[in-house]
Assembly symmetry: C2
DNA sequence: TATAGAGATTCCAGTTACTGGAGAGTCAAG
DNA sequence: CTTGACTCTCCAGTAACTGGAATCTCTATA
């Protein structure tokens, strides 16, 4: 039996009792609005992830509505987390692949994490340099009604 | 006397008809390649800045070549510096406006610098949080040939 | 049952600051 | 006169969405 949940109240009920009943032949679908809410992503973004083949809905309704099952929603949540670390969408695709592959090695995942980490470190070093220099300039600037300004001066000179 | 560099023999005429911005005598023009080299910007970028009205060439040759004078090149260099602090192109437009306006107040410039500074600080705080959390996860990951991985686990859970 | 309103669809455009490339014209040197 | 280096304009693509238009579809209510 296939169930489609499109109503908020009903969806809540289904979601609530989700753990209790994964009875074999029963399947609960969520349309995009519910999937978005459940994964805390904007609808537009969920649709985008489907478009780029990152998380495609398990099915479509007769009317063409995207239908997400619980595993899809898990995937969406996974992506949301990975994206929050600024992994690119492509990296997310790869991470999701690892996630779904129980033959993976944690080595591969760790490698990606370390790579991302060095990128973050690099970015932070750059920002720190900018911050220092800009702070120095701002500090030297009187910030009054006169035109004399070491910030502009520095930009002009360098 | 008007001096023209880089194949721009018609520039004199055009510049003259535009009205003298430099007292009547010597004017040297550079075509986009020279201007790019002088400002250490890619040709494409210089052209782009012209397109978006950030730094428009003082003149055009008969054949339609962009002709930059020294002041233009100063502007390009100014923009390059400002951009290196990650001021947006719009902010650069504003900063350039200040730079070229001797009625400016250093207050306005300083305000922009401080705003940029808080943005940088904000970004650094975010990155620092990411870095810590990701480092924690990576540290906890064995990085071996087994599938068990706290990084994936964390993404799945959160 | 008619209908209003919420929510879904696709497709297109815009965001930022460029960058790459095609096809064509221009210039100086040999 | 040809060659090669430059330059021109215009179009497309980048990353990861986001906004909006025009058009269904579903459901709750009068």
């Amino acid at each position: 039996m296939v169930k489609i949940v499109a109503n908020a109240h009903q969806a809540a009920l289904e979601a609530a009792s989700e753990g209790a009943r994964k009875a074999a032949s029963e399947r609960t679908f969520f349309n995009i609005g519910k999937a978005a809410k459940a994964s805390e992503l904007p609808v537009k973004t969920v649709r985008y992830y489907a478009d780029v083949g990152l998380v495609e809905p398990a099915a479509r309704s007769k009317a063409g509505y995207r239908l997400y099952d619980e595993i899809d929603i898990e995937r969406l949540r996974f992506i949301k987390s990975a994206r929050s670390f600024d992994f690119s969408v492509d990296d997310c695709r790869e991470l999701l692949g690892f996630y779904q592959n129980d033959q993976r090695s944690s080595r591969d995942v760790k490698q990606m994490a370390l790579k991302r980490l060095t990128e973050i470190d690099q970015k932070m070093r750059e920002l720190e340099k900018l911050r220092q220099e800009l702070a120095r300039l701002a500090h030297a600037c009187p910030g009054d009604e006169h035109p004399g300004c070491p910030i502009l001066g520095s930009f002009a000179r360098s």
